[in-house]
Amino acid sequence: MFYAGIFSFLALLLIASAWYAIRQKDLLYGVIATGVVSLILSVMFLLLQAPDVALTEAAIGIALTTIAFVITIRNTERYENDKVESGFQNKTKEE
């Protein structure tokens, strides 16, 4: 019962942070939220007795993917723009 409680709490937290990552207009916050999703997922894998998968998720999901997205955001734009859809149009608009 205790185990199931912890697990459902983690699952709700996972869905909440995934939702936040989708809805957030500031992409940096969104990327951090995706990192949180990976962190919770890694803990859940550990609880499900899959330590190998948990390690992979921890190393790649939390660290490498998040950092790669942060670097990409530094190269491009931080805020999501509703009006302009594709990146190409966005660039022409800037110029």
């Binding site: 190998d52 190393a59 660290a63 950092i67 790669a68």
Partner: protein, 246 residues
């Protein structure tokens, strides 16, 4: 219109998934209990340790029984790295010396210097002990790549020689494939590892060729991911440099 198409596709997918899975009771163990000798799970759990002398059954499956899939995964990673490099690498040598981004803080620099060896040692531990404890080549390689990432972020001048990374990656890949081919020549199947002394269970030297393959995979993954991050970070410097010039 597009939205309706997406909804229709999702409904079709859901329909076929339900049709394939509706007769399985929710939460049922489809792989079968280990007590039932006929299932795949029972085979792996009962036969892995006597056959390969590997304590971590997951490693034995990933590297030996399903070793060909692992080779495919490593190849996919290699192709992804090559594609990324072919898109981004060209910009790097245009402005080699110009560094415009601000240097990082002393805290980050000192912390990186302290943490870097520890992170690399942890990564090496994870992939060397892949057949004994959870973890293995992919995980260890990714951990080592995070260590290099720390150094790349902390020190602007820190650069890795790409030819060295390519050599490490290629040699590790060649080692993996040649062990597999040697198994094909001597044992009859790809990655057959009965030609190698098994060693004793639960000791560092056990499992035949499995630790060697995982060490090769670890080096390969570490070199690939580090190369990706180095290329990404180098592009940042050049981009910001060109922005300022405009």
């Amino acid at each position: 219109m597009k939205r309706f198409l997406v909804i229709f596709l999702m409904l079709a997918l859901g329909f076929y998934l339900i049709q394939a899975l509706h007769f399985v009771p929710f939460g049922a163990n489809r792989m079968g209990a280990p007590a039932d000798k006929k299932t795949v799970a029972a085979f792996y759990l009962n036969e892995t340790v006597p056959q390969t002398a590997v304590a971590n059954v997951v490693t034995a499956i990933v590297v030996n029984y399903r070793g060909f899939d692992t080779l495919g995964e490593v190849t996919v990673l290699f192709l992804a790295t090559t594609g990324l490099a072919s898109i981004l690498y060209k910009r790097r040598d245009e402005e080699e010396t110009e560094r415009v981004s601000k240097p990082s803080s002393t805290i980050l620099q000192t912390g990186a210097k302290v943490l870097f060896p520890l992170v690399v040692i942890l990564g090496v531990y994870v992939f060397v002990h892949g057949h004994l404890t959870p973890g293995g080549g992919f995980q260890g390689g990714a951990i080592i790549a995070t260590g290099f990432l720390l150094m790349l972020i902390a020190y602007q001048k820190y650069h890795l020689s790409h030819s060295m990374l390519t050599w490490v990656e290629s040699l590790a890949g060649i080692l993996f494939v040649s062990i597999g081919l040697w198994g094909l020549i001597t044992g009859g199947t790809f990655l057959e590892n009965s030609w190698f002394p098994k060693g004793t269970l639960n000791s560092l030297i056990s499992g035949g060729a499995i630790p060697i393959i995982y060490i090769a995979v670890g080096f390969k993954v570490a070199a690939e991911l580090t190369g990706v991050l180095d290329i990404l970070l180098s592009t940042k410097d050049d981009k910001s440099a060109s922005n300022i010039q405009q």
